[in-house]
């Protein structure tokens, strides 16, 4: 019995070793994939939250850039809807130039805001119109003010929200479009809204998007799901403004490294041919 098991184990080990010798990586790849999938796509029953469905974003994919028109519309949604409660403190006006607006448009936008600057020569703070290097203004001076205005819930800064939540844009999209009637048997609440995609199911944010809530300047019809899609694309950009450049770099480097690998492989074969063709005679 024990002998048989030892033999079987030895057989398996030998087969693996032989497979490795022959350059067969199949088993290793399969095992790696299983472990990887199990690790990164776990759903826990204790989450008490609905897993957001995957959406076909046109900016995900190794060669896919952000859709600039959608980013632009998304900024309009942010500016006209979300900005009254959420800050976007890590984005400066200048960051949007050449991404979704022209320099003139952004300048005009910045000049519409009042920024507190200073102190001046007399030590006084003063107000001035915004300029390109200013960061987007936050709606509340501090967290306490934000909580006070929102029944104790804190509307987080949205600059990095896509990176800061599991499932990223898919989650934000599901959250924005996922408000539901309170299910039968559950008592409605005064200051919270039922949304199965938010952990726990009750969120302090009133449903922000309604059909026609935003004026788009490119004639796109502003349905709630269109606005949600656009604002998600915009927030994906604010979270990773460097993604386009990074993907282009990735294409360049991976292609080049693949070619270089070919050369290296060939070089190795050439250099080793002498060694591999040697006959060892042992007496």
């Amino acid at each position: 019995m024990i002998r048989a098991r030892v033999a079987a184990a030895r057989g398996a080990a030998l087969r693996l070793a032989r497979a490795a010798q022959q350059g067969k990586t199949g088993p290793v790849v399969v095992a790696g994939t299983v472990v990887g999938v199990a690790t990164f796509s776990s759903v826990y029953a204790s989450d008490n939250v609905l897993a957001p469905p995957k959406q076909p974003w046109d900016h995900t994919g190794y060669t896919q850039a952000y859709d600039a028109a959608s980013v632009r519309r998304g900024h309009m949604v942010y500016a006209q809807v979300c900005a009254s409660c959420h800050g976007l403190a890590r984005i400066a006006y200048r960051n949007m130039i050449g991404v979704c607006y022209t320099e003139e448009e952004v300048k005009a936008m910045a000049e519409d805001t009042d920024v507190i600057d200073g102190p001046n020569d007399e030590g006084e703070m003063f107000e001035r119109p915004g300029k390109l290097s200013d960061y987007l203004p936050s709606p509340y001076p501090n967290e306490e003010a934000a909580r006070f205005a929102n029944n104790g819930a804190y509307p987080p800064d949205l600059s990095l929200i896509v990176k800061a939540r599991p499932h990223g844009v898919d989650y934000i999209f599901a959250l924005l479009t996922g408000y539901k009637d309170v299910p039968a048997g559950i008592a409605p609440r005064d200051t919270q809204y039922y949304n199965p995609y938010f952990p726990g199911g009750w969120i302090g944010m009133p449903p922000p998007l309604a059909d026609g809530g935003v004026d788009y300047d490119d004639g796109t019809e502003a349905t709630a799901s269109q606005m949600a899609k656009d604002v998600c694309t915009f927030l994906a950009w604010t979270s990773e403004p460097e993604a386009d450049e990074r993907k282009l770099m990735g294409i360049k480097w991976m292609t080049l490294l693949t070619v270089m690998f070919g050369f290296t492989w060939y070089y190795k074969r050439v250099k080793w041919s002498v060694i591999k063709n040697r006959r060892l005679e042992l007496y």
Binding site: D67, C100, T102
Partner: protein, 76 residues
């Protein structure tokens, strides 16, 4: 005398093209370095250009440079 096969291989006359390449680019350290540097420069620029063209063809109509004129036209 019969030469071993690998010596016979060596004794074949060198093809004129590779002789030309060798004499022009590889023979002297000066031309060799000049070749390396200029090929690196030209290949780098070409590669960059080709890859950027590929990127833009993957994303036709999505990049800001493709659509910015649309908004300018609307403003006027």
């Amino acid at each position: 005398m019969v030469q071993p096969a690998w010596v016979q291989g060596r004794l074949k006359p060198e093809p004129p093209f590779s002789r030309f390449i060798y004499n022009t680019f590889f023979k002297h350290a000066s031309t060799y370095m000049a070749t390396v540097i200029s090929v690196a420069f030209v290949a780098g620029v070409t590669y960059d250009y080709a890859m950027t063209a590929f990127w833009e063809s993957c994303n036709r109509g999505k990049l800001w440079k493709h659509i910015k004129d649309k908004y300018k036209a609307e403003e006027e």
